[in-house]
């Protein structure tokens, strides 16, 4: 069983939105039809995106931290959006675990979007069909592409390599190793949806230093502390002058 997924490293994401624009660009020019924007240059513009980068502030001033949080379909292993679809338009591919919408079968009832706790499905207001991240299914299996280009558009675009892509069921894949070794977690685990996409937490490199690591407690010079200390105005040259 293959379960393709993204692993998003919140420690590295700088919130540049390159993945958002790259996703939009690729998917709006794809074979499935454009990702329509409405009133893009007027008041109250709106449009369909498969991927959004949100920003959260954690903590209270002055101890705050800004976390940029890319959000797209998590391609759940137990997708709640699939069984509720009345037409079977929403489905999970058994061969690679990607959750997709068959646009020609979609009746636009929006029930699947209600059934997704993450809010990653967006209806296309012009086509009146439900759309969502396809994990660039038209790129990753595309034989006309160079091997190096068979990646989701967002992954290719990320300048900081915050987006990893691979099979989370293969224990040696880059994503599985990252999840295992860097503390990868799932969003809203309380609903049992088993999201395939994982997030890597913010990590800070800190070393814990104890007092005695800086100053040896059994330092012979300290033991012989009865030795006369040099006067303040005397020249001090470490050990040399102190006796």
């Amino acid at each position: 069983m293959t379960q393709l997924a993204l692993v998003i490293d919140l420690n590295v994401c700088v919130g540049c939105h390159a993945c958002v624009t790259s996703c939009k660009e690729w998917n709006t020019s794809g074979g499935a039809g454009p990702l329509v924007d409405q009133r893009p240059y007027d008041e109250d513009p709106t449009g369909t995106f498969f991927n959004r980068v949100q920003t959260f502030e954690v903590g209270e001033f002055p101890n705050t931290e800004t976390v940029h949080f890319p959000k797209s379909c998590l391609h759940c292993e137990e997708p709640p959006c699939v069984p509720v679809c009345p037409t079977g338009a929403s489905y999970k591919r058994p061969e690679d675990g990607i959750v997709l919408v068959d646009y020609d079968k979609c009746i636009g009832c929006k029930y699947c979007s209600w059934a997704c706790p993450y809010g990653v499905r967006e209806i296309d207001e012009s086509r009146k069909e439900m759309t969502k991240c396809t994990l660039c299914v038209d790129r990753i299996h595309n034989p006309t592409f160079e091997e190096a280009d068979r990646l989701p558009a967002c992954v290719k675009a990320c300048p900081t390599n915050a987006r990893l892509y691979g099979d989370i069921h293969d224990p040696n894949s880059v994503v599985s190793v990252a999840i295992r070794e860097a503390g990868g977690y799932q969003l809203m685990p309380e609903w049992g949806t088993k999201p395939a996409n994982h997030y890597l937490p913010r990590r800070k490199t800190r070393i814990t230093i104890r007092e005695e690591e800086l100053e040896r407690s059994d330092n012979p010079l300290k033991i012989d502390s009865k030795l006369p200390r040099p006067g303040r105005d005397e020249p001090s040259l470490d050990d040399v002058t102190s006796w």
């Binding site: 995106f49 959004r52 949100q54 959260f56 009345p86 338009a89 009746i107 809010g119 009146k128 969003l187």
Partner: protein
């Protein structure tokens, strides 16, 4: 959630239609058991006609919810997993039964199929009435389960949702049946009005129980589980775009707390006490009560529209955690 009027009218109209048909089937069963006097075919035919009109109007309203109504026939495909698909199958089935039932009574071709012990004749119409009543109950369940099966919409994920849809639909259907009887079969007014009172009181208890339950709900999803960041103070600074999106339109009702609260009181008064007073007045008065009962139904129906609006507005979708701040 954003209350969609297409769905509000669908659920309230078919709810009343189903309730009316169940009332008719009850009247016909009682008549067969000689507990109520016999009635002419045109009484049942008119009742079935009104019920069918409500079901058709509800179905018509539901099409406005769809982006592609011309593909709606596909919605019957996934009945194994989807409650919506099950509703899509059961609703036309009920419409077909109600239509046949009405036609049988209208043209009067109603052969006795078999006779039960105690000399109870079972004509075709009675059999259809009983099957139809079961299908109507099944339709209440499928409609309510569309909402009750969504486990992270905690306000809906409760058996009370099924109880409310069933009892509120039955109450409005029986009030309508009492009003119809006041115009066509006065001797049934008492029986049906008492039924409507009992069902309205039951619906009141079940709806208030769900209001109490929902007022005490603690959301399972928080900003912490939504982002995976373990810190008590997380504030969204940007949702990733300045304009609106499907996520900001579909899952927020966009009304003030005050408005939602007033809708709650409007439905609590409109669905329960006012129709109850009118029904009880009709039960205990001797003159013509047709206007009284018709008013009771109209008020109760409008109250149910408010009730359904509140039902949707009250549900807090966990995706809203991701859409708290625009800039």
């Amino acid at each position: 959630m954003h209350p969609a009027f297409s769905v509000i009218f669908l659920t309230t109209l078919i709810g009343a239609g189903q309730g009316l048909f169940i009332a008719l089937s009850l009247v016909e069963s009682y008549a067969a058991l000689r507990l109520l006097p016999e009635h002419g075919g045109h009484y049942y035919a008119t009742g079935a006609g009104i019920s069918l009109v409500l079901l058709v109007l509800g179905l018509f309203a539901s099409f406005f919810h769809l982006g592609h109504p011309e593909r709606a026939w596909r919605a019957a495909a996934q009945w194994r997993t989807s409650w919506l698909s099950r509703e899509v199958i059961v609703l036309p089935a009920l419409m077909g039964i109600v239509f046949l039932y009405g036609v049988i009574h209208l043209i009067g071709i109603n052969p006795v199929l078999f006779t039960l012990p105690g000399n109870v004749a079972v004509p075709l119409s009675l059999l259809l009435a009983l099957i139809g009543a079961l299908v109507a109950i099944a339709l209440y369940v499928t409609t309510a389960m569309i909402y009750a099966c969504l486990r992270f919409l905690q306000e809906w994920h409760s058996p009370l949702t099924v109880a409310n849809y069933t009892l509120l639909g039955l109450a409005s259907g029986f009030t309508l049946a009492a009003a119809q009887a006041a115009f066509m079969a006065v001797e049934l007014v008492h029986f049906l009005s008492v039924g409507a009172v009992v069902l309205t009181v039951l619906a009141f208890f079940s709806r208030v129980a769900s209001l109490i339950r929902n007022a005490r709900l603690k959301p399972k999803s928080t900003l912490q589980t939504a982002t995976g960041i373990k810190h008590p103070n997380i504030v969204q600074k940007s949702q990733g775009f300045m304009g609106g999106s499907f996520n900001t339109r579909e899952f927020f009702h966009g009304m003030s707390e005050m408005f939602v609260k007033s809708v709650k009181w409007i439905f609590l008064i409109g669905v329960f006490p006012i129709p109850l007073i009118l029904l009880l007045t009709a039960i205990f008065s001797r003159g013509d009560v047709s206007t009284l009962l018709a008013t009771a139904f109209v008020i109760q129906y409008l109250g149910l529209v408010a009730e359904r609006w509140f039902f949707f507005a009250q549900a807090r979708h966990p995706q809203n955690l991701y859409y708290q701040s625009v800039a």
